[in-house]
Symmetry: C2
Subunit: 322 residues, 2 copies
């Protein structure tokens, strides 16, 4: 008998996606003060990576209409983190089909960033491969984040992983975009990703959504089965139901380098006030889209409408045959 | 390869504890309309058991100060459920040390109740055994709910289970009173309870609390490892962080006898309005007591005080050495 929940794996690394995923609730209009507070909290808490936003296209997402963390221009990042003379590594996400990555991603020598996360749907795997090669040639650590894996067939996932396995990508991330996966499904996906990645030593990550209040639990499940890279966000901030809450994740991890107090501090100083302006979390409409394995867009719209409290009407709409 | 998450075990039964556990947030002052709505929702949803309250002492919990669901007098129950001419079975809980069970629990022939749930701490196991024998002799199905199992030693738990195994109790329930257990701990406890109960065919149940947003996940975990009796409550209503939410549980279970729509109906008609009057759910103070494996009483007090938004002060208080 062992008690693995009181020990730790030194190689397990935590990424904060508060600003990147959370920005989907406010078009990335965080002010510098908020981003700096999250950054400072991550540094003090011993978190390994902070994903500070997207590098997505200014043409598709015009400046002004979208805040600076949608594009993460170098000067915007540096205004907050300076030279980032800390042990916290900085990441951005580039979306296949939505990023001018060839020009938007600078050479690592010219950037304060450390990691590029390439996000793509299964049909975009070819562009993802080009993006991965580009980012690695520029000098970054790179992850491949196959989104909405719960809606792809097993054959498609296998095919995408086979292609990714042949690239020099460092991390393969299981992404439960719709918050629909249960523990046994997480286990199988993590084992599958590990199997495809093992020949070239790729790490496996987990990015969970909280539609069914399983964001934290599914992240633990992924860790148990070998994932060494996990995503979480302060107060679970993220689109719709949000993500695995960082305050729960750090409470679970036993590596003494992690400190939870700075996380409670940013929660009370920044996330609690934010929660009075914008809404996120595992509300009933998000439960329903998670259970139905659907994109949360209908739930997001319902939460903003007059019928936000009519759960039955929402359920009827999503389960009607017409 | 199998996909167990799309099939079901016919023997798996669900108990609704909305009124019993939820009554801990309002001293069981639910009006008949609320209790009837929960009852009707359970009937329509195909839920197996509804725990309608406690049979606890009127001397310890004076009438008036506490509502009728603290004592569950027969006439109070019947005012809501009549003869309960449905497939829903009715349960009450009796607390060791707090119940005049010898007189409060009528003979089954004289009651509309079907099940007695005996709740006790590990040091109260001897009274629990007496209570179990009494309830079985009176004609009920009976469960033994060893509370706060996360704070008992393994030797104590083994001893209690050995004693319980020798009684005719029908169900042994793993009770995570403080919401502190992680998946691997749930797995071991469920397997242990099954092992002790198997010689006499006892079922194993799971009663999870949601302090770390693990109530639903830990209940799934218990099911995976063989628990056939699970507790949940509408909107997760329950003391402090609350319980495993019924709307998530029923969304997960694949037995076509379960219907989720009546649950959404009671959520919007009754639980949502209630949530504007009383507070429950996995708030930060409950995260902290869960992580520390402590009773939620300090968290409940903190949520009611002026410093409810000062998470850091609460964390400092609970982790200080003095």
């Amino acid at each position: 008998m062992t008690a693995p929940w009181i020990t730790y794996r030194p190689e397990l690394k935590v990424l904060d996606c508060t600003v990147r995923d959370g920005g989907l609730v406010n078009d990335h209009h965080f002010n510098d003060d908020f981003v700096r507070a999250v950054y400072q909290s991550c540094v003090e808490a011993g978190i390994d990576y902070m994903e500070i936003g997207y590098k997505n296209s200014e043409k598709l997402f015009p400046k002004g209409e979208f805040g600076p963390w949608k594009h993460c221009d170098e000067e915007d990042i540096r205004r907050v983190v300076g030279e980032n003379d800390t042990s916290l590594k900085l990441a951005v996400m580039c979306d296949a089909g939505k990023s001018d990555w060839k020009t938007q991603v600078l050479r690592k020598d010219d950037s304060v960033l450390d990691m590029i996360r390439v996000a793509f749907y299964v049909h975009q795997v070819s562009e993802a491969v080009d993006m991965i090669h580009d980012a690695i040639e520029k000098g970054y650590e790179v992850s491949g984040n196959l989104m909405a894996v719960s809606t792809a067939t097993e054959t498609e996932v296998d095919q995408a992983l086979e292609v990714l396995a042949q690239t020099p990508v460092h991390v393969l991330v299981v992404v439960d975009s719709f918050g629909s996966l249960y523990a046994e499904q997480v286990e199988r996906l993590v084992k599958k990703y590990l199997e495809f990645g093992k020949a070239t030593g790729k790490e496996v990550g987990m990015h969970a959504h909280n539609n069914q209040q399983l964001g934290f639990a599914n992240t633990i499940e992924a860790i148990i089965h070998g994932a060494n890279r996990v995503d979480a966000s302060m107060a679970g901030l993220g689109r719709g139901a949000g993500n695995c809450p960082m305050e729960l994740m750090i409470g679970f991890l036993r590596n003494p380098k992690f400190k939870i107090r700075p996380i409670y501090q940013v929660l009370q100083d920044y996330l609690l006030p934010l929660s009075r302006e914008v809404e996120w979390g595992p509300l009933v409409q998000y439960n329903i889209t998670g259970q139905l394995n659907e994109h949360p867009r209908d739930a997001i719209a319902a939460r903003k409408g007059d019928a936000r409290d009519d759960y039955v009407a929402f359920y009827d709409k999503l389960t009607s045959d017409v």
